[in-house]
Symmetry: C2
Subunit: 310 residues, 2 copies
């Protein structure tokens, strides 16, 4: 990715990341405002470690840009707490996935994971607290959204993140690691990845449309867009694991192959994976055609997802 | 507790427990209805193990009876999915608290805990999925409640269950176990227990009032009632740990003292704890006086909480 569009996109992504991190930083530094009870200092420190770690904030970016595309600057402003809530869910899932009983990772974005920096119990609780916080943020009194929209955002997030979505996908992924490679066919890999990674990316785009008050057709279109970039994201992730090194990635590389983990790369090879990823981006950007120039940040996001280097 | 009131209460509690268990049984057996993705069988089995374990269902009982007291049978019916959602939160917290990295319990209600019956990774994910499911239940399309009520139920649950409530209380409890007994004064113990155990019991009563469309004064009154029975519950729990044996309790007894865990019993002894518990029940039942005979089940619940034997 190069040229002025890509530079604009990089700046826009980075500005949104700062905005979301700033929101979460304030929310996790001002905990006393939510009630009579103070938040335990160690718990807050672990939550902050898991959240304020320099992530790209891709999911909240998609929420903000979809809301902005469909409802302008006001839509974008209204979307910020929802975008932050989604990032809280994403970060909780990383904390729990990194635990010794799960993927057993010591390193995340070049930093010690939460259970390494603190301890396992604190990491489990920090994850639980971030997951719970997301639903607090989606129903905050200060949210400038109708109650019916808040209810829909909560319901869709619970389903995207739960047993039929992200958590279920992680369960299938752990089972797949234990199974023989031959037992997992392409449909199985695709379903697993659609749940584990795709569900939240799809939710990001749907949430932006719901916040904007979009009609059912537009919500469905953004759902399709989200499904395609979700698949592209996972394919790019698999390519990174197969080809990058740990220094660039900020986490252990080559783990998938060494564990016999079911990936598209393992089944079809690097070139076929690159082609499939490009196809997903093409289909995704084609879905944005009704929105004209306003859709440019989302189209850039789709391309970024497929070509990112970490 | 004896006499006809107590017998009525036992039957009523048991009927509500069956109703809530039946609701959760159906919900965890009919997972396909929530979306395109199937719920992984092992995850569902672990969730069912953690939820359908013959619990007393005290928290959902309080939701149902508060709604019934304030809005009759229609209120009670509308409250069922919310009551079930609260029980899902309670059960997730037990699954995570039992983990080796936390309280390390192998036995719960006489059965192997989820990480023993399955494995640690599955237990972590089953807890995450149940926590997430609660917010799905509170915003289900079939819920017969206004969107503004659903938003309030979600917001209050997220705060009761999160870093400033139940999860924060568990964090403080783990820290207290590591600390010297002398470091924790009575105010510290009370604050810890109000968060760890009290917050969900208080939420149960508040949720019933919110579901019933009660005015702010009534909601505050039920909040006070819930806070007092929450304290009575924890005091009774400490008494049970200090005096019962594992056969009756269905879990390890005497753990608090052997671990130097901060409890009211440890600080003030058994008799003072009994007196304080009775005082909480008296204050709680006095708060119900405006509601006359309709408040009898809740008054019985307060007495039950203080005198239960397991």
């Amino acid at each position: 990715m190069s040229g002025p569009d890509a530079q604009d996109f990089a700046a826009r992504l980075s500005a949104a990341a700062e905005e979301v991190a700033g929101f979460l930083d304030a929310r996790l530094g001002d905990a006393a405002r939510t009630g009579e009870a103070a938040w335990p200092a160690q718990l807050v420190a672990a939550m902050r470690h898991g959240v304020l770690n320099g992530g790209k904030r891709l999911r909240p970016f998609l929420v903000l840009e979809t809301a902005a595309m469909l409802a302008g600057e006001a839509g974008r402003r209204a979307a910020l707490p929802v975008a932050a809530g989604l990032e809280a869910i994403h970060c909780y899932s990383l904390i729990h996935d990194d635990l010794p009983a799960m993927d057993d990772d010591d390193l995340r974005r070049g930093q010690p994971t939460v259970h390494v920096a603190f301890d396992e119990a604190t990491a489990i609780l920090a994850g639980d607290a971030l997951l719970t916080l997301a639903f607090d943020l989606l129903t905050d009194e200060a949210l400038a959204l109708p109650a019916s929209v808040q209810v829909e955002l909560v319901r869709r997030l619970a389903r995207a993140a739960g047993a039929g979505g992200m958590v279920g996908g992680q369960m299938l992924d752990l089972a797949a690691e234990k199974a023989e490679r031959a037992e997992i066919d392409e449909a199985g890999v695709t379903a697993l990845q659609a749940m584990k990674t795709g569900a939240l990316l799809k939710y990001a785009c749907v949430a932006g449309a719901v916040i904007a008050g979009a009609d059912a057709g537009t919500v469905a279109r953004m759902e399709n867009f989200g499904a395609r970039i979700g698949l592209a994201f996972q394919l790019a992730d698999d390519l990174l694991d197969a080809t990058a090194d740990a220094t660039v990635l900020g986490k252990a590389a080559g783990k998938d192959a060494s564990r016999g983990k079911a990936t598209f790369v393992a089944l079809h090879g690097v070139e076929a994976t690159r082609a499939r990823c490009a196809e997903m981006v093409e289909e995704a950007t084609a879905l944005l055609s009704p929105f004209g120039a306003a859709s440019r940040p989302l189209a850039e996001a789709a391309r970024f997802i497929a070509t990112r280097r970490s």
